[in-house]
């Protein structure tokens, strides 16, 4: 409690000092306002971007291995990857049979073509060959109907599952279930419709696609397609083990000699996530550093004005010291004044950044994050304390005799 009254007085003095120089305080705080606004905007944009990246990637599932010709992390040589032997349906079937650690294996191939029902049609829908486990591995949910049965896949039945957008386009008024549609001229019966999933930053969503049994896909659309094998591990912890098993089996199936490099890639979400986080972190650090410079400029402005404030109140400081104010009392008084100005600037900056973020959100993924807000306020108070310290220290050390003599 010993500091209590001094502190109340210090708050009162700093408040008075700011209020009696409103315009000056406002102009000084402008630097901080701009600094905090740009830094928190930058923070929002970065937070928004990484959230979007993460959301997009989480669609992939953290427990799924994607066996393909192409490596996602662009480690390999593009031309070399393109020239690799295709992964065939036979490879997929063998892998599926020999795997012991997998919970499910989805075998997929893709093509593009027109899909139509009576007068309505979609010119270039994504046609996906899939098996009975694809929906489960991919995390697709059914809006209506059902997924493929094992018998339908084994018997290469002409059945299909529509993505939600495609279903709405072809059947604007009625349910598509049990209707016959034409895919590249071949007749298929609709057995299911997927729930709407929304787009993703990297991967076209499933909303515009039509799925058919992979066995039927092979006979109707592509005789020997390059297939993707998506292996769902028993759980996320088992993914490394599963990866080792998949690699061993794939090398055997593709008859790779020991020492020969893999001619296939096993992709997983975590790899991309790591790469994204690393790149994102570098970009964020750079961006924050550059915008942080404006905060530094603001801080220098505060320091400047605090020196002026000390100078023009030298006599008052002398008087207060004569009446018994200790060094720390004067120090606290000026530090408070500087922090008040900066805190005020910080709040104003946030009040600017907030609506701008909302505006940005309409065209760009931006997210005002609480940590950003807190950091901005902390940084503005810290700026006040740091830039106020030197002037406040000088004020506290003033000799009362000299200070009182000042006119």
């Amino acid at each position: 409690m010993r500091l209590g009254y001094e502190l109340t007085e210090a708050v009162r003095i700093s408040g008075e000092a700011i209020l009696s120089n409103k315009l000056r305080a406002a102009l000084t705080t402008l630097g901080i306002v701009i600094g905090v606004a740009t830094v928190s905007l930058m923070g929002s944009v970065i937070a928004g971007l990484s959230q979007t990246f993460e959301d997009s990637l989480s669609v992939l599932g953290s427990d799924v291995l994607f066996v393909q010709k192409y490596d996602w992390t662009s480690k390999g040589n593009w031309r070399e990857m393109r020239n690799r032997r295709d992964i065939t349906l036979r490879h997929a079937t063998r892998l599926e049979k020999e795997l012991s650690l997998a919970q499910a294996v989805s075998v997929e191939a893709q093509s593009v073509g027109p899909v139509s029902h009576e007068e309505r049609s979609a010119e270039s829908a994504t046609i996906v060959g899939a098996n009975e486990q694809t929906a489960m591995v991919r995390g697709y949910l059914m809006e209506a109907g059902r997924s493929f049965s094992e018998a339908e896949v084994d018997g290469s039945r002409p059945v299909c599952i529509l993505g939600s957008t495609l279903a709405e386009n072809l059947f604007p008024r009625s349910s598509p279930l049990r209707n016959r549609i034409k895919i590249r001229g071949k007749k298929y019966e609709v057995v299911g419709v997927l729930e709407k999933m929304g787009g993703s930053l990297f991967f076209g969503g499933a909303d515009d696609q039509v799925m058919v049994p992979i066995t039927r896909f092979v006979s109707d659309f592509a005789y020997n397609p390059d297939v993707n094998i998506n292996v769902k591990a028993i759980d996320a912890e088992a993914i490394d083990e599963t990866r080792i098993e998949v690699r061993g089996i794939m090398r055997k199936i593709r008859r790779l000699a020991p020492g020969e490099p893999d001619d296939f890639a096993i992709n997983q979400q975590g790899m991309v996530m790591d790469a994204v986080i690393q790149t994102g972190g570098t970009i964020a650090a750079g961006g924050l550093l550059i915008t942080g410079l404006s905060l530094l400029v603001g801080g220098i402005g505060i320091m400047n004005i605090m020196f002026v404030s000390v100078l023009e109140r030298t006599k008052e400081i002398g008087l207060r010291k004569a009446l018994g104010a200790k060094q720390r009392t004067i120090l606290i008084q000026f530090l408070l004044e500087a922090s008040f100005i900066c805190l005020f600037g910080g709040i104003l900056g946030l009040l600017i950044a907030f609506p701008v973020t909302l505006l940005l959100q309409t065209v760009f993924p931006a997210k005002m994050a609480w940590p950003v807000v807190l950091a901005a306020l902390t940084v503005s108070i810290l700026t006040g304390l740091i830039s106020g310290y030197l002037p406040a220290f000088r004020a506290a050390r003033l000799n009362p005799v000299d200070a009182l003599r000042q006119e």
């Binding site: 008052e316 018994g324 200790k326 060094q327 050390r397 009182l404």
Partner: protein, 242 residues
């Protein structure tokens, strides 16, 4: 025990290559309840002596015992504490806080003495009453006359019940009539037992005191106690306005 005991006190300032003595080896005793004037032309060292007595400055050598406390070796914050408790300052230019009311100006020493706000208010009102400003407590300095401002300053000097009231040219910025009123107030305070030290270069002002110390070239040139009939009693020449 004397209130102020000064023994062989010196204060010197380095001025480039030379060393200038502002005070040379001064010894002095002031008892409790005395009314002393310190006189001297500018440059005589009287301001230096006042700063030392007021604990605003530390001596280069010698001893200074205030109210039984050795203060010559104290640091900045310890001196601030001594000033707060032992000394009430009255300045030539009043030195009031322009944005604060008379009441808050008078409360200020009590804030630094860590007195709670209720007691602070009570004692500030009491001090303002003593200087005849009970009806001006919410006025700001610019709403008060020069004489009233100096009374607020005197109330501020009184409020923490200091051992000494130390006034530096207290009438220097006032017209002569108001000056006399302020001197009358000091006499009244002296009669009530306060120890008062007035620093001045005006003979007229000094002659209100019961003891006059004349400083010249850093030395005490004379220590006079004028007989009662040579003293001016301000209360006979005017009455303080309410």
């Amino acid at each position: 025990m004397s209130l102020i005991e000064v023994r062989n006190l010196s204060r010197l300032y380095p001025m480039g290559e030379e060393i200038v003595y502002a005070l040379r080896d001064i010894s002095l005793v002031i008892e409790k309840g005395e009314y002393v004037a310190i006189m001297g032309p500018s440059g005589s060292g009287k301001s230096t002596l006042m700063n030392l007595i007021g604990c605003l400055d530390s001596p280069s050598s010698g001893e200074f015992i205030l109210n039984g406390i050795e203060v010559s070796e104290m640091d900045d914050d310890e001196l601030a504490d001594i000033r707060n408790r032992q000394i009430g300052f009255v300045f030539q230019t009043f030195n009031l806080l322009a944005r604060s009311t008379a009441l808050h100006n008078v409360e200020l020493p009590l804030v630094y003495a860590e007195v709670d706000s209720e007691t602070r208010r009570e004692r500030a009102l009491e001090a303002l009453g003593q200087v005849g400003l009970a009806d001006r407590v919410t006025h700001r300095p610019n709403e008060l006359s020069g004489g009233q401002r100096q009374r607020v300053a005197i109330a501020r000097a009184l409020v923490n019940r200091p051992a000494i009231i130390l006034a530096d040219e207290p009438t220097g910025n006032l017209d002569s009539r108001t000056g006399v009123e302020i001197m009358a107030l000091f006499e009244e305070l002296s009669d009530r037992g306060n120890t008062i030290i007035v620093v001045t270069h005006e003979e007229e002002v000094a002659r209100h005191a019961r003891r006059i110390l004349r400083i010249r070239d850093g030395l005490i040139a004379a220590d006079e106690r004028p007989p009662a009939d040579e003293r001016i009693d301000a209360r006979l020449s005017s009455c303080p306005e309410g």
